[in-house]
């Protein structure tokens, strides 16, 4: 196993080298030969993907397919075993100010002593800089972001007193405060109420209309066609990427889910959404 992996990594590295010339500063995210491993077994293996500007993109795949790992590696949160990530043509460290991240809601302890507005102001960290503390100006910006997700009335609530959907909207507001060009969201619609889902999708669409790029790990196959322009199908390896219409096909889904989706299930996905 190890040797086989090692061998493939070398090939990946050589391929990555060759493709470098094509990196454009206008391409929000380019991933080449990306492999991440938490132990012996790779979580994602040799993934290549290009994410075009001004699009909404869903990353879709079964549980354990490495969807979260992929965006964490794209953000430089988890170390890469091999491969390159270029954001607007540059290494991650040089463009952190242009990226925003919405982690999974369950990844933090909501009993933390902070109010809603405090969490949103965390998105202003990079603009605050060293040894400066948030003041009225930052508060105003945070409140404006909260207003965009319909949470302005909750600014002073302790974050543990919010519903799941409200917590998700606060996380989105924090990402809005980052004022980024590339948004990476990890399951922003998981376990939220219908009203929150509508609000979040409206905000994501307005981000797209402003020319920003939105990449979401997405779990609900029935809404992919409705919500997203492009889709990246992965299951440890990349299965397919491209516009939803041509990529989100029965054949690709079968390959992604390894026959775990019944034919009837896929039929359902083809039904027009009411």
């Amino acid at each position: 196993m190890r040797n086989a992996l090692q061998g493939s990594i070398e090939v990946v590295a050589r391929n990555g080298e060759a493709a470098h010339a094509a990196i454009s500063p206008n391409l929000p995210l380019l991933i080449e030969g990306l492999t991440v491993s938490y132990g012996e077994k790779p979580a994602i293996f040799s993934i290549d993907a290009r994410f075009a500007a001004g699009r909404t993109i869903a990353i879709v795949g079964p549980n354990g397919a490495g969807k979260s790992t992929l965006i964490k590696a794209a953000l430089g949160i988890v170390p890469r075993l091999s491969g390159t990530v270029r954001v607007f043509g540059q290494p991650i460290e040089q463009v952190r100010g242009r990226m925003a991240y919405v982690p999974q809601r369950a990844s933090v302890d909501w009993d933390f002593p902070a109010r809603v507005v405090d969490v949103v102001m965390m998105g202003l960290y990079r603009t605050l800089g060293f040894l400066r503390f948030a003041g009225p100006k930052e508060r105003q910006r945070a409140l404006a972001c909260l207003d965009r997700v319909g949470m302005a009335d909750f600014a002073k609530r302790q974050i543990g007193q919010l519903s799941g959907g409200q917590q998700q909207r606060v996380f989105l507001a924090r990402a809005l405060a980052q004022d980024a060009d590339l948004y990476l969201l990890d399951e922003p619609l998981a376990g939220v109420d219908a009203a929150t889902e509508r609000t979040i999708m409206d905000v994501l669409k307005s981000l797209k209309n402003e020319g920003r790029t939105v990449i979401c790990v997405h779990h609900d196959l029935s809404t992919v066609a409705q919500y997203f322009d492009d889709v990246l199908l992965i299951n440890v390896r990349k299965i397919a990427e491209g516009p939803v219409a041509s990529t989100f096909t029965d054949g690709n889904l079968q390959k992604t889910y390894g026959g775990r989706l019944a034919g009837a299930h896929i039929e359902q996905l083809r039904l027009p959404v009411e």
Binding site: G39, K72, L75, G76, I77, E93, R96, M99, Y101, P103, S107, V108, D109, W110, D111, F112, P113, A114, R115, D118, V119, M122, Y125, R126, L128, L131, F133, A134, Q158, G160, Q161, L162, S163, G164, G165, R174, G191, V192, D193
Partner: protein, 308 residues
């Protein structure tokens, strides 16, 4: 409060307060990171460090002891990190393995080596010697302005004051980054905050506070102060800044009241003598925590309201 108070009570009280503050401030972050027991772990692992330092230097002077303790603390922290990462196990389990093993090693060393000629005993390690840290050079309040008298203060005062400056300075300088990485490490990393280095820095600062306080006041206060004031403060407010301020207030109140109760409390009840100041300070901090559990405004767990 006359000259006697300055001579006999002022410096122990001051030392107790400085030690309590130096431990309580980083304790806030340790508590929220579910690492509160690291203070406990560190105060245990300093024992082998002290014994080894004694075996090498042959003295019980403060600096070799503190150096040995600090090195042991750093070794312990690195071991805990290594076990956590390599074994991929819970931080608490890694701490438990390291500190019991190192403490046992320290006891074994103490038994096997000839330390009978000096005062290296368990009681000292637990309770410290707060009551003995008196200011003999003082003649009254005016001595606070007298340089020669000041220079005769127990060295623990200056040492703990310096440590408190380091601890408070670290928290002040890295306030935003500490807050974000404690709440949401993934997000902190995405912002370019070096969250793991910062977490290590916090533990090192904790170790410095624990070792300095341990030398002056013993491990009972150290363990209590890392946990009780921050935990009580968390029940008073939902704001991290206010929580830190509350924890500092509780630490000061515990140290001052604890010292007074230990010295005079038994007399009020008609008993002679006094009880251990370190034990009483820890007890007061525990009583404050109990009171906030019962009456603190934010004591209700909010998890129940969380569902959609």
């Amino acid at each position: 409060m006359g000259p006697d108070f300055v001579q006999l009570s002022l410096t122990p009280m001051l030392i107790g307060t400085l030690a309590a503050l130096a431990c309580a401030l980083p304790g806030n972050f340790l508590l929220l990171r579910r690492q509160a027991l690291i203070g406990d772990a560190i105060s245990h692992v300093v024992l082998p460090g002290i014994v080894v330092a004694f075996l090498i230097t042959g003295t019980v002077a403060a600096w070799p002891m503190m150096l040995g303790a600090s090195l042991a603390a750093i070794v312990a922290v690195l071991l805990i990190e290594a076990i956590k990462r390599l074994g991929r196990i819970d931080a608490g389990a890694a701490m438990g393995v390291v500190f019991t093993a190192m403490f046992a090693g320290g006891v074994l060393l103490l038994e096997q080596s000839d330390t009978s000629s000096v005062h290296l005993d368990v009681e000292h390690a637990l309770y410290g010697n707060l009551e003995s840290l008196i200011w003999l050079g003082a003649e009254g309040w005016s001595s606070l302005l007298d340089w020669t008298a000041l220079s005769q203060m127990p060295p623990q005062v200056a040492r703990l004051a310096a440590v408190l400056v380091v601890v408070a300075g670290f928290i002040f300088v890295f306030w935003n980054a500490l807050k974000i990485s404690t709440f949401d490490e993934g997000f902190a990393l995405s912002l370019g905050i070096r969250a793991r280095l910062l977490g290590f820095g916090l533990v090192v600062v904790t170790a410095i506070a624990a070792v300095a306080a341990f030398d002056a006041v013993g491990s009972i206060i150290v363990i209590a102060m890392f946990i009780c004031p921050p935990a009580a403060a968390r029940l008073m407010t939902d704001d991290l800044g206010r929580q830190v301020a509350w924890s500092a207030a509780f630490a000061i109140v515990s140290a001052v009241l604890g010292y007074i109760f230990a010295g005079y409390g038994p007399l009020w009840f008609g008993a002679a003598g006094s009880v251990s100041a370190a034990g009483m300070i820890a007890t007061v901090s525990g009583l404050i925590l109990a009171a906030t559990c019962l009456f603190g405004p934010k004591r209700k767990r909010i998890g129940a309201a969380r569902e959609v």
